[in-house]
C-alpha cells in the first residue's frame, strides 16, 4: 500500500478553482475561436510531471466525472493519473476511441488521429479533443491555416510534430463536421486547431 505516500506526492490543483477555471476557459475559448494564434493561460500552477502548466490548467478547467480521459505512455507512467483522479474525478480510459479528452505529453507518442473518436454524423460534438504538448509553438516547419476563426490566413510553425501529422490532419479535416479538435500546448501557451481549419504545408 502506498496510498499515503502518493497523497504526499500529489501536486495541488488551482489555488482558486472558480476564477482560475474561468480565466483558463476564456483563454481556451479565445484559442479555439481565434485558431492559430498563440494564447497564454495566466495560471500559477505547479503541474505534475510531465504536464506543462497549461495542460494541467486545461484538465482542471474542463475535466470532471463526466469526461473520459486518455493519457499517452509518458503521462500515464507518472503521477498524472492519480492527480487527475483526485482533482477532476475523471475516469482514465485505455482505448483512444473512448476518450473525450486525450492528453499527449510527448507528441512523438501521438497515436494516429483516426484512432480517436470522430463523433457521429448527427452528433459531431461527441468527438475527442486532443491536448498535445510540443517543445515549441514556433520555429517548426511553416504551415498556412485557413478557415473559421482566421482572418484570411495565418502562418503557424509548430515544432516537433510527428512525421505525417499534417497528412493525418487533412484526413481529419475532410471528415468535417466530424473529426477531432486539437489544442497544442507549450508551457503556458496554447494554439487551438478546430476541425474546420484547413492546413497547407
Amino acid at each position: 500500500m502506498s496510498t499515503s505516500h502518493d497523497a504526499a506526492l500529489l501536486k495541488p490543483g488551482f489555488t482558486d478553482a472558480v476564477f482560475e477555471a474561468q480565466a483558463g476557459f476564456r483563454a481556451l475559448l479565445d484559442a479555439l475561436a481565434y485558431a492559430g494564434r498563440i494564447t497564454t493561460l495566466e495560471v500559477s500552477l505547479d503541474p505534475p510531471a510531465p504536464l506543462d502548466p497549461a495542460t494541467a490548467a486545461i484538465a482542471l478547467t474542463l475535466f470532471d466525472f463526466d469526461t473520459k480521459v486518455w493519457l499517452d505512455a509518458p503521462a500515464a507512467a507518472g503521477p498524472v493519473p492519480a492527480w487527475i483522479r483526485f482533482h477532476c474525478g475523471s475516469p482514465i480510459v485505455s482505448e483512444t476511441h473512448d476518450a473525450q479528452f486525450a492528453l499527449v505529453a510527448d507528441a512523438r507518442h501521438l497515436p494516429g488521429l483516426g484512432d480517436f473518436d470522430i463523433g457521429e454524423d448527427r452528433h459531431p460534438d461527441r468527438s475527442s479533443t486532443l491536448v498535445i504538448q510540443v517543445p515549441a509553438l514556433t520555429g517548426g516547419s511553416a504551415t498556412r491555416w485557413t478557415g473559421p476563426g482566421i482572418n484570411g490566413s495565418i502562418e503557424v510553425a509548430i515544432a516537433a510534430l510527428p512525421e505525417g501529422f499534417w497528412a493525418q490532419w487533412d484526413d481529419n479535416h475532410a471528415l468535417y463536421p466530424q473529426g477531432v479538435d486539437v489544442l497544442f500546448v507549450c508551457g503556458r501557451q496554447v494554439i487551438g486547431l478546430p476541425r474546420g481549419v484547413k492546413v497547407e504545408v
Binding site: 477555471a21 476564456r26 479565445d30 481565434y34 448527427r122 460534438d125 479533443t129 473559421p148 482572418n151 478546430p194
Partner: protein, 310 residues
Amino acid sequence: MSALEEVRWDAAYNFAYLDEQTKRMIRRALLKAIAVPGYQVPFGGREMPLAYGWGTGGIQVTASVIGPDDTLKVIDQGADDTTNAVSIRRFFSRVAGVDTTEATEEADIIQTRHRIPEAPLREGQVLVYQVPQPEPLRQLEPRETETRKMHGYAEYGLMHVRLYEDIARYGHIATTYSYPVMVNGRYLMSPSPIPKFDNPKMQDNPAIQLFGAGREKRIYAIPPYASVKSLDFDDHPFEVQTWDEACALCGAQNSYLDEVVLDDRGGKMFVCSDTHFCADRRAEGHRGELGGDPAALAFARTAEEEGADR
C-alpha cells in the same frame, strides 16, 4: 486573487450563480460549438431564477463565460433600458459583481435579445444571444430525430421550398426576422429572432458569437471571421430592410428603426432601435426631424434619466 479577498457579489451565491460543475459542462459545450460552427450542441440546461423565454439560455452562457473583470452590456431589442435588459444586468451585478455599461465599445460581453448592436464589434468581445427556438427547421419538421438527420446529411431542401413558397405567394421572400443562415457552408442555423437587417453583421465578425437556448437546451456558436450566408436564390438575392424615414431623434439613415406611436391621431415617429447608438449620435450633435420637438426631447430625456438612475 483579490476578487476573493474583497467579495463584490452576493456571497450567498457561487460566483456568477451557476455551480462549477454546471459551468464546466457548459464550457465544454461552448468549445465544441466553436469547433463546429452552427451545430447545436445539446447541454444540461439548468433551472434559472426566471421563467423560460426571458433569456435563461443566454444567462447560462454568460454566467459560464464571465469573469470578475469583465464589463457587461445587456440589450433587449436594441434597448439598454427595457425590463429584460435591466433585470439581467442587475442579476449579474448581484451574483457576479461585474461592472455594467451601456456603451457597446466598452463591453467585454454583450448579452442580447433580438438585435446586434449598430456599432461594429471588435476582437475579444463576446456576443451572447438569447435564443427561443434554436432549430431553424422546427416549424417545418416537428420531430427532433428528423431535424437531426437533416442536419447530419445537410439535407436542407425543405427550407429552400419554404422560401420559394414565399416568393410564389408574395413575389418576394417575406421572412423578416429569424432569417435562416448557412454557417461555414455546412449548417443551417437560426440567427435567433434578430431582424434580417442584422444578418450581414454576423458574417466575418471579429467578435465571438455564442447562442444559448435554455428551454430547448442547445448551445451553438459562430467563431470570428466565419462565413455566414443568408439563404437566397440567384434571381431573388437576400436583401435587408430599408426605411424611407430617418431616425426622428438622431437623424441616422443607416440604423434599424422602430416605429413609435405618438398620439391617438395617427402620429408616429421612427427611432433607432439601438438606444446607445442613438444617444451617442445625439451627443455628437446629430438631430432628427423631431430632435427639436419638446415632446420628443422629453421622451428621449426620460429614457436617458432612467438609464442614469441605475
